[in-house]
């Protein structure tokens, strides 16, 4: 495991060692993969968004003015890519008829199965507005502070708190029938 700081590896990449970029990718792939998969609800869409995000980050690497904060800078790109992909996917999905009973079936078919639980929660997440889903995931799944979320999204802290609140309210409406306290 390469323990050098991000800034050192970035300098190496910018000096011409393109292969060193893989080190940066491996450092952040897990966290950002989870976010992308949750945000988009699809491995294929997450794959596309992350390919685009990591490639964009590489192309813009010289513009990362604070290489010691590369992870936060990369997160901005990932969040933007996922948001764009989510909006695009939302438009695409609206071309298909909405199955109103899908959520109910998911909620009741496999109540004791962990994978099914994740699936049903994911299905509920998919029902949220994109910006609410994004705020909820960054806050409660990725564990970011509101200040970090603001840096990643460009949205003010107050607005983010409201988005998280609304996301929680909506999720509770969607999931309360199964996840009793």
């Amino acid at each position: 495991m390469d323990s050098r700081p991000d800034s050192v590896i970035i300098a190496e990449v910018l000096a011409g060692n393109v292969e060193a970029y893989a080190l940066l990718f491996r450092r952040y792939r897990d966290d950002y993969t989870r976010f992308a998969v949750r945000m988009l609800g699809s491995y294929a869409d997450a794959d596309d968004a992350l390919q685009s995000a990591f490639l964009r980050a590489y192309r813009a690497l010289a513009q990362c003015h604070d290489p010691d904060k590369f992870g936060a800078w990369l997160r901005q790109i990932v969040v933007n890519e996922c948001r764009t992909a989510a909006v695009r996917r939302g438009r695409r999905d609206r071309r298909f008829a909405v199955d109103e009973g899908a959520l109910e079936r998911v909620l009741t078919d496999h109540p004791a199965d962990g994978a099914a639980m994740r699936e049903e929660i994911q299905h509920a997440l998919d029902q949220l507005e994109v910006e609410h889903r994004e705020a909820f995931l960054l806050k409660h799944v990725e564990g970011l502070s509101y200040e970090e979320m603001s840096a990643a999204t460009g949205v003010g802290v107050s607005a983010l708190k409201m988005r998280v609140k609304r996301a929680c309210d909506r999720l509770r409406e969607l999931l309360d029938g199964v996840h009793h306290d």
Binding site: Q51, H140, K161
Partner: protein, 223 residues
């Protein structure tokens, strides 16, 4: 659970306006139940890294947004017939005018004319439906070891169009056949330093704030 979590929990529990500690605790339990499964790790496709690195190896890095010691650049377009003579003349003027100073646009080019008449200077061939214009790029970089030209005409591939020393110290040139159209371009010095053409009238910024120059070849808007 963080303070922020608790804050969000209180906010979410506020629907009835008076649930108090019980409501907040209920909200926290609800959040704990639904977030735990979501925190499970996810894995990318096994080919993800190889696909990414393949793309990275052929991708064109963008320049820093802060300019450093940019070499001054100059580009001129000419026809195949008189290209060499015109380019040589302009390059000579550029070199003479830029000794130890920055290079300005050609003195014969009024600053308020459309881009096709400003730098880069243009010598267009007679318009024809299938005309291919030969565009000669001249770049002055006395300290450079190598200079590449990138643009949307070569997919921003730094290996496609290398400028060669023009015989005069610090002057690099490349000739590119282009059909009529509008193109973005920039120079890359020593493989890492990106510069737009400082004499171009039109520049374009992409998503990352990188500045590229814009040139129109052929047509009424040629420039």
């Amino acid at each position: 659970m963080t303070d922020h979590d608790r804050e969000a929990g209180r906010g979410s529990s506020g629907r009835s306006g008076g649930e108090g500690k019980g409501g907040a605790a209920s909200e926290e339990r609800f959040l704990a139940r639904i977030t735990e499964p979501l925190r499970a790790p996810e894995r990318l496709d096994a080919t993800f890294e190889s696909r990414l690195m393949t793309a990275v190896r052929t991708a064109m890095p963008l320049p820093p947004t802060r300019r450093g010691w940019w070499r001054q650049a100059y580009m001129v377009r000419v026809t195949p017939l008189d290209g060499l003579a015109v380019a040589a003349g302009i390059a000579a003027l550029v070199v003479l005018g830029s000794v130890l100073t920055r290079i300005e646009a050609p003195p014969a080019t009024p600053p308020d004319l459309p881009v096709q008449h400003r730098a880069p200077a243009v010598a267009a061939v007679q318009p024809a439906r299938d005309t291919v214009y030969v565009v000669r790029f001249v770049f002055v970089a006395p300290d450079a070891k190598r200079v590449a030209l990138v643009g949307d005409f070569n997919n921003w591939d730094r290996t496609t169009t290398r400028l060669t020393p023009a015989g005069t110290t610090g002057v690099w040139t490349a000739t590119v056949p282009l059909s009529a159209g509008r193109y973005q371009y920039a120079f890359i010095v020593d493989g890492t330093r990106w510069t737009a053409d400082p004499t171009a009238s039109i520049t374009v910024k992409d998503d990352f704030g990188a500045t590229t120059s814009l040139v129109t070849v052929g047509g009424s808007g040629a420039g």
